[in-house]
């Protein structure tokens, strides 16, 4: 598969999934980590996938890239890249794609980089393998790549080991590795979670700039809504292995529909809050992936849940605009929602969830 498959001007999605299911066989039973996810990402577009741990967001990105092991995993549904079905491709076939077409940036650069290999070599390795460069050509390209991602003294850094670099620089190296062969699709799995707050913004800016320059698509996985706010075109919120709301970024923040998303928004600490005010949290724990509750998976923790919610699982339906979908029986703004809010405001607890 080569890059010319996906035409720059195409409006067809670069990558899409239809009803993707990834189930793990565990001693306790089958864990439905990703349970029917349908998303599309067009060229040059970036999608943020947000959720708590256990929501399935990391499994989603790894499934889409085809990185999961063969044994103990049940795959269903379709994954199409450039119009071609890749769900059931063997690792051998996917290896030609990993690097030149798709790449992933991981969360912790200290453990994701080989500790005993010089960082320059970790970049030139891909260049030599996929683009057939000689080692001197590759080194020159790697040096330029380091400069592009903002690593100072690039030439010297090429010969250093990961432990000699700071956290932010290591993450830049990882980005350089990912972008080395010019992929069209980048999966970023919590790329800033392990970094200092000050560095986080720099890295996100870097990613954003690279994406624009290269007209790349990105899937950005994070548990932090604040991260996706400025850096993605669309956001998909995941809960219990399913997408529960999807909208263009602005619309999600201004016209939130699903109570879980609302709760996530409200749990972001803001400077405007009075100091020492309690952090709003969502009480309870993520659902059991092996034995999920009947009905809506968020119902046990939802402040607005009613009997219907516990009986019937809501389908994804459209909101006011066609690119905004959500799954909720009694979304934000509905009469039942307001009714419940009334009741809650009369109770002493400042938290939104059930006390």
């Amino acid at each position: 598969m080569s890059s010319h498959v996906t035409d720059e001007s195409s409006t067809e999605p670069l990558i899409e999934t239809v009803g993707l299911r990834t189930h793990f066989i565990t001693p306790r039973g089958i864990a439905r980590a990703v349970d029917g996810v349908t998303v599309q990402i067009r060229r040059g577009q970036s999608l943020g996938v947000v959720g708590e741990s256990g929501s399935g967001k990391t499994v989603l990105s790894r499934s889409m890239m085809g990185l999961l092991p063969r044994n103990g995993v049940i795959r269903e549904g379709s994954i199409r890249y450039g119009g071609i079905e890749i769900q059931h491709r063997s690792p051998k076939q996917m290896r030609r794609v990993w690097g030149p077409e798709m790449a992933m940036v991981f969360q912790d650069p200290m453990t994701s980089l080989n500790p005993v290999m010089k960082v320059g070599k970790q970049v030139t390795e891909s260049l030599q393998l996929h683009l057939g460069m000689s080692s001197s050509e590759a080194m020159a390209v790697a040096e330029k790549a380091f400069r592009d991602v903002g690593i100072p003294e690039a030439a010297r850094r090429l010969n250093q080991f990961p432990h000699e670099l700071s956290g932010g620089m290591r993450q830049r190296v990882m980005i350089a590795i990912a972008l080395a062969c010019g992929p069209n699709m980048l999966f970023a799995d919590e790329p800033t979670t392990a970094l200092d707050v000050t560095v986080q913004a720099q890295i996100l800016d870097l990613l954003s700039a690279q994406i624009k320059d290269r007209h790349m698509s990105m899937l950005l996985v994070t548990h932090n809504l604040g991260v996706v706010a400025g850096y993605t075109d669309e956001i998909a919120v995941m809960y219990g292995g399913k997408v529960v709301e999807r909208a263009p970024t602005k619309a999600l923040f201004s016209n939130v529909k699903m109570p879980y998303t609302e709760a996530l928004l409200q749990s972001i600490p803001r400077l405007s809050h009075a100091s020492h005010s309690r952090l709003a949290v969502i009480p309870g724990r993520p659902p059991d992936l092996v034995d999920p509750p009947a009905g809506c998976r968020f119902a046990p923790r939802c402040a607005y849940a009613r009997d219907l919610c516990r009986r019937e699982e809501p389908e994804l339906i459209q909101a006011e605009s066609p690119d905004h979908t959500f799954a909720c029986h009694f979304p934000v703004g509905s009469p039942e929602y307001h009714e419940r809010r009334e009741e809650l405001s009369r109770m002493p607890a400042p938290l939104l969830g059930r006390p």
Partner: protein, 292 residues
Amino acid sequence: MTAEKITSGSDDHGAKKKLGIGFWLCVIWLTIMACVALFIPFLPLKSPTSNFVDATQGRPPYAPSWTHWFGTDKDARDVFSRTLHGARISLTVGFTAITAGFVVGGTIGVISGYFRGWLDRISSFVFVVLLSFPSLVLAILLTSLIERSLLTVSLVLGLLSIAPVGRLARAATIQYADREFVLAARQIGSKDHQIILKEILPNVAIPMSSLALLGMAVAVVAEGGLAFLGLSVEKGITWGGLIQLGSDSSRTLEDAPWISFFPILMLFLTVLSLNFAGDRLRAFFDVKEAAL
């Protein structure tokens, strides 16, 4: 991230939960060998030193047959009987050696590990010195200087096992001496020796038990090596000695391989059983440890 850690076909997933049938097979074999070693005078065996020359078969050595299950050697001595007698010395030396090593090495290790300080430094240095010799070389050196009886050979091998046993006991003790239940015991006024006996020893005994089996295997092999070189119990029938007699000349080995091979087989099965059982035991306790 829990989903990611589910690996396929993981290593001995089921085997760790119980000791397994292999373990019990080894135990059975070892019990048989132990019984042989203990009850040899009462077993209906041919004499190991008599010559059973049979004119009708020509010159010895005779191949295995119904009268001589393992055949005979050049002097027409019954290999089966000699092999079983060999078990006696080899196993006794192995057992005594590791027991002595455990008692002395274990004590030194636990005490050093518990009290630390200059005692620990001295004993650690002694251990390192002992471990600076390849053990066979040291064994050869020591056994050549003494009168080689069952007891002395056992003690020499025991001496050699003091260092490895001591080191493990010390490491295990250090690990436990810092734990909370020891601190708690001290708070309620337990004396040191009480703490050692009641808190530390039972826990240290667990990793040591598998070392006991593995250590005995090493001792049996070491005795075999010494016997092969002529440095084990004098005038005793040992597996190593039998193997050496059967392979001393290429002629003998070529014409009558059974003289060496049956003792080799017995030695191999015994060492294999000790190793396997010791390993199973270690795997069994390892998992329990991790689950605590």
